[in-house]
């Protein structure tokens, strides 16, 4: 982007984000064409406002999607973006049978309008952005899931800002206008790039443990037990002398595909074969367990060893 233009855009963004009702006032008073302003609001102001920690809850799904839209990150971090794009994080709502849960069982609703952030606990990890939105948005998402609107569902994901802002620190709350990264602090020369702060947790398993959890989520009306991986890591792997982190195996060299990719059967099989070496020993003989009575027998002994950092299977 032209630096002058970027500068101008930036100044505009900051002046917008610092006023109490920035978009609305600007929208009403400005002589600029309203479509242009609306586009500015959706595509530029919203992604910035998330890092500004606005307390106002988002009212529409489209706004929420735009707020977390990772496409501006793609401009410079192309490789990481394409890795992320092929990861399960990029499709956190797809293929997990949420439509089934909305239709039957303890999470079922009579219609999408009944779905709220509280009674739809899957949001906690599969779309944590919901924390910033109203129940109206929850209802919109339920409608999208029930209609199997795959185009919109693909936009509901664990995008860059979820990990690099919202979940980027656990000691205190994420700061305004800051992104978190595992390495050192950095001020970017590009004025439209948010300041990057070092967050040590991003290299540690606790980062992943925020979603890849401990077991039952008791904070909901009906507790559900989705992810138990981090619990297994803490209480089985670590006590057995394990020293590696989730990132050591699932984000080697900052690989944002975060394998395994369950759509790639060959790769999953290869990873499991490496994590679970199996030995088979056989013995053919004729035991005489009661005198004079021989029974031709084959003994097959198997030994499966686990090098994984958690139980297998787990979720």
């Amino acid at each position: 982007m032209n630096p002058k233009l970027a500068n101008k855009r930036n100044n505009l963004l900051y002046s917008l984000s610092r006023s109490a009702l920035p978009g609305i006032i600007f929208y009403r008073k400005s002589p600029w064409p309203r479509r242009l302003l609306a586009a500015l609001w959706v595509f530029i102001f919203l992604p910035i406002s998330i890092c500004n920690g606005s307390d106002r809850k988002i009212e529409t799904l489209n706004q929420l999607i735009q707020m977390y839209d990772p496409s501006s990150c793609k401009e410079c971090h192309e490789e990481i973006y394409s890795q992320w794009e092929s990861s399960h994080h990029a499709r956190s709502i797809m293929g997990i049978f949420m439509d089934r849960y909305l239709k039957k069982g303890i999470l079922s609703v009579k219609g999408p309008g009944e779905a709220t952030a509280k009674n739809f606990p899957c949001f906690k990890c599969h779309f944590p952005q919901m924390e910033k939105a109203t129940d109206k948005v929850a209802a919109e998402i339920a409608a999208v899931i029930l209609k199997k609107d795959k185009v919109t569902m693909q936009k509901l994901n664990i995008s860059c800002l979820v990990c690099h802002h919202d979940k980027g620190i656990i000691h205190g709350f994420p700061e305004k206008n800051v992104l978190y990264a595992p390495e050192g602090d950095e001020e970017y020369p590009e004025e439209n790039h948010l300041r990057v702060k070092r967050s040590p947790i991003m290299k540690r398993s606790v980062m992943c443990g925020q979603c890849h959890g401990l077991g039952p989520n008791f904070e909901f009306e009906y507790p559900i037990q989705c992810a138990t991986l981090y619990g297994s890591y803490l209480h089985a792997y670590i006590p057995s002398g394990g020293t590696r982190t989730c990132q050591d195996c699932h984000m080697k060299e900052a690989n944002h595909t975060c394998p395994p990719n369950f759509n790639d059967k060959k790769d999953v099989s290869a990873r499991l074969a490496k994590a679970l070496p199996m030995e088979v020993r056989t013995l053919s003989y004729a035991p005489q367990l009661t005198p004079g009575s021989f029974v031709q027998t084959i003994i097959v002994e198997t030994r499966i060893f686990s090098k994984a950092g958690h139980r297998i299977p787990d979720g």
Binding site: I224, M278, V300, P313
Partner: protein
């Protein structure tokens, strides 16, 4: 694990399932799915650094000279959704005594 004679007749078959098993904590029946599970009640999954060892004894009928043993390890996140992990084959000659 299966064992077949050199004529192709199955003489032994068995399977072991390693998995955490949960209930909804209201009764003692095992349940599937994150919306149903509340607590793990038994866990036979493969734990880090703790080998799973099994021993199978296969009685071989007298007229068989060779047995083919096949041991497979697969991962099934859902019934029918199978990811192969290992397949080990052994050919065992039966010595008459």
């Amino acid at each position: 694990m299966t064992a077949t004679s050199d004529q192709g007749k199955k003489i032994f078959e068995t399977a072991k399932i390693y998995m955490p098993q949960s209930t909804n904590s209201l009764d003692r029946s095992m349940v599937y799915g994150p919306t149903e599970k509340v607590a793990i009640i038994r866990d036979t999954s493969i734990q880090p650094f703790r080998p799973k060892e099994e021993s199978f004894a296969i009685k071989v009928p007298g007229d068989i000279g060779k047995v083919n043993v096949e041991v497979t390890l697969t991962y099934q996140p859902r019934p029918g959704d199978i990811y192969p992990i290992h397949k080990v084959k052994r050919e065992i000659l039966i010595e008459s005594y």
